[in-house]
Amino acid sequence: MAEDMTPRTIDKRKLPELAGLIIAAGHRLYGPVRNGGEVTLTEIAEKPPLDFAYGNFKMSPKNFFLPQSEVICRFCGGDMLKDAVSAEEKKVLLGIRPCDARAVWLMDKVFLEEPGDFYYKQKRDSTILISAACLSPETTCFCTSVGGSPAGTEGSDILLFDLGKALLLDPASPRGEDFLNRFSEMTSEASKKQVSQKEQLAQEAASRLKKISLDGVAEKFARAFDSDLWAAPSQKCLGCGICTYFCPTCHCFDVTDETVREKGRRLRTWDSCMYPLFTLHASGHNPRPSQKERVRQRFMHKFSYSVQNHGELFCVGCGRCIKNCPVNLDLREVITR
């Protein structure tokens, strides 16, 4: 298993060369690049100016596995065209945070369970996740309260630690171990000192995170379905759905057809439980007629239904919904109420 392999290190100055080799091996490489004031996960062509001084990317990497919009099939008139799905390109995502890798691990539970989701699985199988341990969490972060940690490995193939002059690469899956072996000439075995430095950094990061108490939240929410718990957040909520778009685990989608004359395509696109049309029946009946039911659904799904169905909270504590909500609705206040 992965634990057997000793972590590797690489001098940061050798990173562009490693990136070049990864690209030459046929992977599309995405890494942290500063664009203006912001570090984003950007495709790297060659000699990347990688920048590891960031909290987290504004957008989660959800788009790599469940694109905002993707083609299910193409058609002409009443006939489906056979060229529908092209093979996925191999990708490497370098520098996503462990919370976002954990979110992919959570989405796996939905999309890889039978019957497996063809499109998701293709992308998942062809993408290597190299997470960067989150050594300076932000004030909106609360991963340790929802089952994760700044150096958690769920979903990751390799976990990377920024040790200053060098990066430590710790394999987190057999696939990650295999990947590191392929590029072993670029790296060297980590020293004992580096390994203990890594552990210290992880502990320090975890200790900086404020823990909120979520014991029994699934049961509490299940009991609170008809309570007035939902009144305050839903009165404030505009129903804009931005929380669901930024959320790395929100995965609801719509399926629609688009045509120009008789040629067209069937698409799946991100959808949101915050919208009234989401559940509107053709008959006009809507089981979630007001924002109260819709806000409740989002919280129940993440903090109660998912625990019942998959044994995990479907929140990774990345804090994006808190940062991006236009009316400052703080999810932490609702789940601890």
Binding site: F75, T259, E262, D271, F278, T279, H281, P287, Q297
Partner: protein, 284 residues
């Protein structure tokens, strides 16, 4: 879905509309008889009463529709569709011979094994009678009929013209294998049958709950008054089985919109026991 792990569950199978039957006086409910173009697809589509499929029209979209035929009727599928939205309207404008897509079978069927050796009571209202028609056809097949005891059905519609499957209703009313009660909310001059709401007729007929299972499908208002009536007749909640509907897209528990509590109507239902419903939030 059928256990073929490599199949892409989002891709429909092509099927030809062989026959279209107008079912009601308002002419907005039609039954489509479909046959798969591909023999392999036909064989792969193994279903039981209560399951549904996504009917697919490229350029319009998909609609989840209960399968109205019984697996004992081989070689074709029946779907009874009310004209309501974009897909169903387009489907209604079809001519025989058109090829559409079918994706399924989806969802859990009525518990046919639990009916073994039991009296079966079927209660339907409006055009939701479709998967119950499948169940009746299935149970009336000789090899299945001898496995259950009494078969009773109460079916009602708003008016005589809105009753669907009129020919079969007549056939069943004359059959000894099924005790058939047909009712309408309000009759017209030519109507000589029963008048009254389904729950009221259920009270009059008062089928015994002894060694019995009840299957219910109908509009929410009918369900609301039928459940207490069945409980009053002594049916235990786990022996009341109901089929629900919900807006759906994927049909396989991924797209996240058709849940009631932690269960998805598409994959955990659409068939639920009343006992299950009692433990779920009333959000349907």
């Amino acid at each position: 879905m059928n256990g073929d792990g490599n199949r892409n569950p989002y891709i429909p199978f092509p099927a030809k509309i062989e026959k279209i039957t107008i079912e009601n006086a308002d002419r907005d409910i039609k039954t489509f008889k479909l046959a798969f173009l591909d023999e392999g697809h036909r064989r792969a589509f193994q279903y039981l009463p209560g399951q549904f499929a996504e009917l697919s029209i490229f350029g319009k979209g998909e609609s989840p529709i209960g399968i109205a035929s019984s697996p004992t009727e081989e070689g074709y599928l029946l779907f009874t569709v009310k004209k309501v939205g974009v897909v169903t309207s387009d489907l209604h404008n079809s001519e025989e011979g058109r090829v559409i897509g079918v994706r399924g079978p989806l969802g859990k069927p009525y518990p046919v094994e639990a009916m073994e050796g039991k009296n079966v009571v079927i209660i339907g209202g409006g055009f939701a009678f479709t998967t119950l028609r499948s169940t009746i056809r299935y149970l009336l097949a000789p090899e299945n009929r001898r496995r259950i005891k009494n078969l009773t059905c109460i079916y009602g519609a708003r008016s005589p013209g809105e009753l669907i499957y009129k020919e079969e209703l007549k056939e069943w009313q004359g059959s000894e294998d099924i005790e058939m009660y047909v009712t309408v909310d309000k009759g017209d001059e030519s109507w000589t049958g029963r008048e009254g709401f389904v729950p009221t007729v259920l009270k009059e007929v008062a089928p015994s709950s002894e060694n019995a299972i009840a299957l219910v499908c109908g509009p929410p208002i009918m369900l609301k008054f039928t459940f207490p009536m069945l409980l009053g007749l002594g049916f235990p909640p786990e022996m009341i089985v109901v089929s629900l509907e919900m807006r759906m897209k994927c049909g396989i528990g991924k797209c996240g919109r058709c849940n009631i509590g932690n269960l998805y109507v598409c994959k955990d239902g659409p068939v639920f026991t009343y006992q299950q419903l009692q433990s779920l939030p009333a959000e349907y």
